[in-house]
């Protein structure tokens, strides 16, 4: 049996394509549980903000702690099979959180309304950047949630927190469920 350079090139191209799709699938499968968790927590956070506006940011600290602890447990369970992927996803979440606080230091004081839009948009920036490397789904999800967040910020008045609960909490849950199908 003989192979000419054209056939070799076609085989290598097939290999690259399958490798890319497999990586995408694995990332999708590993991200879905974390996304659903954050969606539930964030959705609950905005509902609490709507019902008890006097709490300001106190409940968000509890939500952040619960989210990162949950993510850590999810990644840890998965990391028995692939430690690098778990570390990457968790590190990305922590880097976004750290840079979020740096931005807030620069722009403080911010209104609760601005704060409500800031974190989702920052996280969606992470989604879009991750999507460039890992898979287009994250880009679509990041752009859609950012657009809906901005729409709420500029045009939704007294129902703003509920809008954000639906868009961010619901968006992350829907994204996580969709990723589970794709992965």
């Amino acid at each position: 049996m003989t192979i000419d350079p054209n056939e070799a090139a076609a085989s290598l191209s097939d290999i690259a394509s399958i490798e890319r799709r497999t990586r995408e699938t694995l990332v999708y499968a590993r991200s879905s549980a974390s996304l659903i968790l954050w969606g539930l927590l964030v959705g609950a956070g905005y509902v609490i903000s709507f019902v008890k506006p006097g709490l300001h940011y106190a409940h968000w600290i509890a939500i952040a702690v619960a989210g990162f602890t949950g993510s850590f447990i999810i990644h840890r369970r998965r990391s028995k099979r692939d430690s690098r992927m778990g570390e990457l996803l968790l590190s990305t979440e922590l880097v976004l959180l750290a840079f979020g606080f740096v931005f807030l230091m620069l722009f403080w004081p911010v209104t609760p309304r601005q704060m409500g839009a800031f974190w989702p948009i920052l996280v969606m920036l992470g989604f879009v950047i991750a999507g460039i490397w890992l898979g287009r789904f994250f880009i679509y999800c990041g752009i859609a949630v950012t657009a809906l967040t901005l729409a709420g910020y500029f045009w939704v008045d007294s129902w703003y927190a509920l809008w954000m609960a639906a868009v961010n909490g619901g968006g992350l849950i829907a994204g996580g469920l969709w990723l589970r199908r794709l992965g």
Partner: protein
């Protein structure tokens, strides 16, 4: 230089090995997920996996998750080695620009 590996070079088996080679050391892919990735039918994928298993390139594990049967496939060390050698062989052909037997 590496030689042509007839078992791996077949188009579907090449795709199967490429997908499995992405996995971490102790990871496996479920049959249904692998089927989607390589765009194969159940029967076709099963036949090619059988060939790869006989060559010692993949390990197939069958188990039950609840009441549902699940088949998981992972590459063996010799499968990974054979795949790497085959890829090196394809690159050599491309770099050399000639026909190899």
């Amino acid at each position: 230089m590496s030689g042509l590996n007839d078992v791996i070079h077949q188009a579907m088996r090449l795709k199967i090995m490429a997908a499995l080679n992405v996995l971490g050391p102790d990871s496996a892919l479920e049959f249904t997920r692998l089927k989607t990735l390589v765009a194969a039918t159940d029967g076709n994928l099963g036949a090619h996996l059988d060939t790869l298993e006989k060559a010692g390139y993949v390990a197939i594990e069958k188990r039950f998750v609840g009441k549902k049967p699940q088949t998981r496939i992972k590459p063996t060390p010799s499968g990974r080695r054979a795949f790497a050698e085959h890829v090196a062989y394809l690159r050599e052909i491309l770099d050399g620009g000639g026909v190899r037997a």
